[in-house]
Amino acid sequence: MVMVKRRPNSTLKFTLAVFAGAPFAWLVYLISLEIAQPTSGLGPDPAEGLLHYLGEWSMIMLLVAFSVTPVRRIFKQPLLARSRRMMGLFAFAYVFLHLLAYIVLYVELSMQQLLEDFVERTYITAGIAAFFGLLAMAITSTKGWRRRLGQNWLRLHKVIYLVVPLALLHLIWLRKDGFADITLYILWFVILLGERAYQVRKSRQAATV
């Protein structure tokens, strides 16, 4: 085995990975409880319990990934840039599992039900659209794709500015009442947008000087 010298960013990256993976690890624990004794881990309606758990963490991880760059700038942590792709892929993983749980456990692979949901239920349409945006980002997240796409890579990855609001809409349209978490997510998103707007303004001013 080749010994890898620890670069200064690997500790940070590892810590972030542990945090981002923790909800998944907890879910594995809940599922193991559930398998050992039904209704013990995820409640009497486990398909929905699992779906909502993954959905909630998808939203949080998306916002976390979207926070990497602003946090890097505000707290002057240049090393964070090297964790951005990883955090994005974590978010994608949660979203993918959320979608998978919906298709396999919730609609139980019924094509007819899936089509009806996609077409008639706007919150699902928004969720699917957000997924495809993320999918494009995940596929092109490799070094090879980044090189091949050149300038277009940045353009393509601006789709995140659609993905996050679509995910928020998905949640807002779904929820019937009790908007505490949604309020927090929207606030979080607005702050992140604000930071970016500020950066754009600053760089424009710098350019005119």
Binding site: I31, E34, I35, A36, Q37, P38, T39, L42, G43, P44, D45, P46, A47, E48, L50, L105, Y106, E108, Q113, E116, D117, E120, R121, T122, Y123, L174, K176, D177, G178, F179, A180, T183
Partner: protein
């Protein structure tokens, strides 16, 4: 045990409590056996007949009662704070006897009978619940509603200091929770006021001290912890219709043919479901009570009056 004549779920579909309990015991034993042999449990499947009574801990710990929070577990965790004694019910509107009544006086001399009903939530899950209740007609008639009483409206308690959902800044519901029935619906023999559950007093999280139960309608019609009964001439505006009229109507009859913007209503998950078997079954028109109630809606376009 008091058993009324009314459960119209064909008797063949109902499992008696003894059989059910024995079955549980059997499942418990086999589960222990299986666990002992290191295999995972899948032996239960063959034991389930069509309508098995939902276990008590699920009926009492998995509830939608937004007054106590929007999570299914919130009512069980928070409802103990609600004071149900004394309990006053205000009766008003188109009736001869109106005013404030003590709950005990209203039900005095009446016996609760057991009714095992299917319970279908608009969120596409369902249970089978052994309620103890009094025919609604018997309760309403004592107030002598007049000819002008075309509908009856019910309201849930408003007490924010005992109901965290009502004091929540993040709720958009205009309390009190309000529901209503047409008088002929209210007088249908299936309609009951529930005062007990599993042969015991009705727990707070299930709507103590009394709640409505109209089994052919989605669960949200069966308003809990009622403090107001009003007889009216015009169709009352129920809470969910007020919040989202495009999704929730006044009638809310269980109808697999009318799909809801959020959920398909063609089928339901009978709880408890497991991760690998959602226990899905087709939803029946009027939740299986068409024979008893379909005549109430003769000539009505149920796609329009959903």
């Amino acid at each position: 045990m008091l058993i009324g004549k009314s459960p119209k779920i064909p008797t063949s579909e109902i499992t008696s409590e003894t059989t059910y309990l024995n079955r549980r015991k059997f499942i418990g034993q086999s589960a222990a056996l299986i666990a002992g042999s290191g295999l995972l449990s899948s032996a239960q499947a063959g034991l389930q007949p069509d309508d098995e009574i939902t276990p008590e801990d699920i009926v009492t710990q998995f509830n939608n009662f937004y007054e106590f929070g929007t999570d299914k577990s919130d009512p069980f965790e928070n409802a103990h704070a609600m004071t149900t004694d004394p309990w006053t019910v205000n009766v008003s509107g188109e009736a001869k006897k109106t005013g404030d009544f003590a709950f005990e006086d209203i039900i005095k001399g009446m016996t609760a009978e057991e009714r095992i009903y299917r319970f279908r939530c608009v969120e596409a899950w369902s249970m089978v619940v052994p309620w103890m209740g009094i025919p609604l007609k018997k309760i309403l008639e004592q107030f002598e509603p007049t000819g002008n009483a075309k509908y009856v409206e019910f309201k849930t308690l408003v007490r924010p200091d005992e109901m965290p959902g009502q004091s929540s800044f993040f709720s958009s519901i205009d309390w009190p929770y309000t529901e209503g029935l047409r008088m002929d619906e209210a007088y249908n023999p299936l309609s009951i006021m529930v005062t007990g559950l599993f042969g015991k007093e009705l727990p707070n999280q299930n709507g103590a001290p009394w709640r409505l139960m109209v089994p052919w309608k989605y669960g949200f019609k069966s308003v809990k912890s009622i403090v107001s009964i009003r007889f009216v001439e015009k169709e009352p505006l129920n809470t969910w219709q007020q919040l989202q009229a495009s999704e929730y109507g006044f009638y809310a009859n269980v109808n697999p043919a009318v799909s809801h913007p959020r959920w398909s209503q063609a089928s339901e998950r009978r709880l408890p479901s497991t991760l690998f078997n959602t226990n899905r079954r087709p939803t029946l028109p009027f939740n299986g009570y068409a024979e008893e109630v379909a005549h109430l809606y003769k000539g009505m376009d149920l796609k329009k009056f959903f």
